[in-house]
């Protein structure tokens, strides 16, 4: 690990100023310290934000606000999250381990970086780690890589589970800046597609800090998180789907779906939600939804299997979420 200067933030403004000057915020550290050991990340300064008052889960309008420093364990265990937003609890519990979730935070989880093998290997070219150096995953080993929204510069995926559920729930990310201002961004617009600037995972500007996540009023319905992976526990998704579906009699009253491990961001396609609403559930309908999802899907060789896997996972998820008997 490269040497760094360590400071402890004593206020949000001070932390944001330090971050604007180039320091990296550290909370749980489960991803950042791993990357620093590998020298994928080499910050000259860390600002420890753990003592800032960014914890707690509290009512927010008709919804809920989750502080940026709330641990993944605490979020999944929260009574209101379990009752009103079960897809969020399910997604969190599907990721990592109890040890990691005890340290990992809500804000940090959103900012976790890709698990692309070449991003992790500093001897290999990677446009995300070293802009302009090339992408070794294109034409290399790319079993875990993107089938949607990739670019010539980067085919990495966003690896997390939590943000996929937050996308289905249409949550928002609260962000503070060094000038004392704040803004709120839909989770669906927080992560970016790689384009020709894959070094930027999300829309955070220099000096901005995530302060929390807000959830809209509970929508009820059936909430499902389906994660397909190589092992039944402690593995990243190959395909994951968060579904929030409310039935209106025999027909689908509302639907909100988001997909993980397919792209550089949690994938949300409003056309899929619109297609499902008002329809009677059927495999034919679910197949049309998969057609929309995969319209522009492109395999890279080793990850071609993700295309039929995403279709089958979507079918299974929608059968479960709509209670359809096929």
């Amino acid at each position: 690990m490269r040497p760094f200067e360590y400071t402890r933030a004593d206020g949000l403004d001070g932390a944001a100023r330090r971050i604007a000057e180039g320091a990296r915020p550290i909370a749980g550290g489960t991803n950042l310290l791993d990357l620093m050991k590998l020298e994928v990340e080499t910050p000259g300064a860390l600002v420890d934000i753990n003592r800032l008052p960014l914890g707690g889960i509290e009512p927010h309008g008709e919804g809920l606000r989750i502080g940026a420093l709330v641990s993944n364990s605490a979020c999944a265990a929260d009574e209101l999250v379990r009752r009103d937003y079960p897809v969020l609890a399910r997604a969190i519990l599907a990721g990592a381990t109890f040890q990691l979730r005890n340290k990992a935070t809500t804000g940090g989880n959103l900012c976790q970086r890709t698990r692309c093998y070449y991003f992790y290997n500093i001897d290999q070219p990677c446009n995300k780690r070293e802009p302009g150096s090339g992408c070794a995953a294109i034409g290399g080993f790319n079993r875990i890589h993107a089938i949607l929204g990739a670019s010539d510069a980067c085919i990495a995926t966003y690896p997390g589970d939590m943000a996929v559920a937050l996308s289905a729930l249409d949550a928002r990310v609260e962000i503070a800046d060094a000038a004392g201002g704040s803004r709120s961004v839909p989770v669906r617009e927080f992560h970016r597609l790689p384009g020709d600037t894959p070094e930027r995972d999300n829309v955070l500007a220099p000096g901005e800090v995530i302060t929390g996540v807000t959830l809209p009023a509970p929508v009820g319905g059936t909430q499902v998180y389906r994660k397909v992976r190589d092992r039944s526990s402690y593995a990243f998704a190959l395909v994951s789907i968060a579904a929030v579906v409310r039935m209106d009699g025999e027909r689908i009253g509302s639907a909100s779906l988001a997909f993980g491990a397919l792209a550089h961001k949690p994938w949300h396609d409003p056309r899929i939600d619109a297609l499902l609403v008002g329809e009677v559930p059927s495999d034919a309908l679910f197949d049309k939804a998969a057609d929309l999802l995969l319209e522009e899907a492109q395999g890279q060789g080793h990850n071609d299997f993700k295309i039929p896997m995403a279709r089958r996972a979507l079918l299974a998820t929608l059968r479960e979420a709509t209670g359809a008997r096929m």
Binding site: F4, L33, R83, T97, F98, Q99, Y234
Partner: protein
């Protein structure tokens, strides 16, 4: 923070950390405190050999900087049991042969101890059917909840047996 010592309680004893900020909690425990029961396996949060309890919660001590534990209470395997006074989980691991080489065992035992508290607090896992029901630590639940502790010797079935017996003993004591 330069120059100022950070107080950390370790197994009930007051320690101070004043080293290089890069020092992980794991390296501080092993190298500075002489507590070599906590093991360094992968050093990347993947194997769980370094699992310790911080303020009662299990974490990977390899993915945490010592300097960030100002005022925390850390419990390692040395704080759970000693050769002369084994923790019941240690005794159960011996009885059920819950190890071969033993390298992962301290992490397994710290992890299992925290798992029991998590279940008592009603924390669901990925295999829990009802997110809001009281948790029963079935072998399936134990396997899921212990998946962050790898055993390269493959003693998993005996590890589960040891934990199950310990939980049954705790339950029998609670109903007496």
């Amino acid at each position: 923070m330069k120059g100022s010592a950070v107080p950390i309680s370790i197994n009930g004893n007051e320690a101070e950390f004043a080293g290089d900020p890069r020092t992980t909690l794991l390296d501080f425990l092993r190298q500075d405190c002489g507590l070599t029961g906590t093991k360094k396996g992968c050093d990347h949060g993947q194997c769980g050999a370094c699992t310790v309890l911080v303020n009662g919660q299990r974490i990977n001590s390899c993915l945490s900087l010592a300097i960030m534990h100002d005022g925390d209470s850390v419990t390692t395997i040395e704080g759970l049991g000693t050769p002369a006074d084994l923790h019941p989980l240690q005794a159960a691991f011996i009885k059920h042969d819950g190890y071969q080489c033993g390298y992962c065992t301290p992490g397994q035992i710290c992890s299992a101890q925290a798992m029991i508290d998590e279940a008592l607090n009603g924390w669901a896992s990925n295999v829990t059917a009802d997110l809001s029901a009281p948790v029963t630590l079935t072998p399936e639940e134990i396997r899921e909840r212990m998946s962050g502790n790898l055993c390269r010797c493959g003693a998993y079935s005996n590890i589960v047996d040891a934990i199950v017996e310990h939980i049954e003993t705790l339950q029998a004591e609670a109903t007496q």
